[in-house]
């Protein structure tokens, strides 16, 4: 086959474009190291920020959801939109008030049963109060937290939809992987939205696992320093 004319078409990129890519990667690696240092200084602050943002995003309106429907993927019933667009842009940040209950009394306040992990790393200490947020007639979420050895918070968030709809997780591009929890698909998300830069930051050492259990959306969230992906899945699989 005489294909020399095609082989002759090959050319090397010029040095400028190679340098551009190398510089971009070097910058990212530098930023990655800096972010990790920042994270060790204030992991709790960042984790709370990510938790609040993701929780708010679960409640994205049906109108918006319809507009972006074609880009939404589904992993085990969890709807996910991967985008580079910061979802909070242009709209005011809404802080939901929360109620606090003890673990014993919280089930009386909720229209659904709470599944709790039967296994958790030994050095995690459960925080006795459970936070509950109510978003109009749309959803109720319960937050069960553990204090970790790194002084961060590890959270289990259980969301019950009152309107029968599914929420959509809005996350950065390339940040989602599919994993299995008790043989069922679950969404593993690496990174979080950075409110300062209004960009998805996968250098944040935050890991989130979302899946459906007993018709409720369960989300586990922590930082890599405290929990590995395997441990996260082990916790999820132990929930009864």
């Amino acid at each position: 086959m005489n294909d020399q004319f095609l082989r002759d078409y090959y050319k090397f990129p010029n040095q400028r474009s190679i340098r551009k890519v190398e510089d971009g990667l070097h910058l990212n690696r530098k930023k990655h190291k800096t972010n990790r240092m920042m994270l060790t200084l204030k992991p709790m602050t960042i984790l709370i920020l990510v938790t609040v943002l993701i929780s708010a995003l679960l409640l994205i309106s049906p109108v918006v959801r319809a507009q972006v429907n074609e880009w939404i993927q589904q992993i085990g019933g969890v709807f996910i939109l991967e985008t580079n667009e910061y979802p909070g842009r242009g709209s005011p940040v809404q802080t939901l008030p929360y109620e606090q209950y003890s673990l014993n009394e919280v089930e009386n306040e909720l229209p659904f049963a709470l599944g709790l992990p039967q296994w958790i790393p030994d050095d995690f200490k459960i925080i006795s109060s459970v936070k509950v947020t109510r978003f109009d007639d749309i959803a109720i979420s319960a937050y069960i937290d553990w204090k970790t050895p790194s002084d961060s918070i590890f959270s289990l968030i259980i969301q019950h939809r009152l309107d029968g709809e599914n929420g959509v997780l809005v996350v950065g591009e390339w940040s989602v992987q599919e994993r299995l929890v008790n043989g069922e698909p679950a969404a593993l998300i690496l990174g979080g939205w950075n409110a300062d830069t209004q960009k998805w930051d996968d250098n944040l050492d935050v890991i989130t696992l979302s899946w459906y259990h007993d018709s409720q959306l369960y989300t586990l969230q922590g930082i890599n320093e405290d929990v590995s992906v395997d441990e996260l899945i082990k916790i999820a699989e132990s929930i009864r």
């Binding site: 086959m1 294909d3 004319f5 095609l6 190679i18 971009g24």
Partner: protein, 183 residues
Amino acid sequence: MNPNARVKKGLFNRSDTIEWDQVVQIDLPKVFNYFRYCGLDDDISEELASTTFEKAWRARNKYNPEKSAVTTWIITIAKHTLIDYYRTKKTVYPIDMLDEKQESGSQEHNLEEDIQQTEIFEKLKKLLFQLPDRERELVALKYGTGMTNRDIAEFTGLTESNIGTILHRVVSFLRMSLEVKNE
């Protein structure tokens, strides 16, 4: 957390195995030519190659060396980058416009003896751009990234013999088209 502990936790051990400087040197030319053999201009190919590496960096935690070589993984990202590009920005160049682009092009090798070659390449670029998606991808994988037919078979799910047949047909078509146009 020290690197060993991180490896033990199993999250970043994959990305730590990627030697990015080496990957850029080896794979950037392949990615750049993958886009060029899809019939795109050099400047757009450069831009898309840069986007591909940015995406690869961001997706580094997803790379699994047990599943594929780094090059194959990056070419997969390049393929998705191209799909995104087509979805948002694909334009069909009329022949006149291609001629203008050729005249105003920023080729560094603008010597007289190269003019005829440049003309052939411009025509080839247009022909590549107009190929059906599957044929264009096979040409880009074969000649742009340097994959063997076996690699392409694994990458695309087609059989090796099917790839050989398609490529033979496409190469013959391109050669004939260039010869006719040059007459």
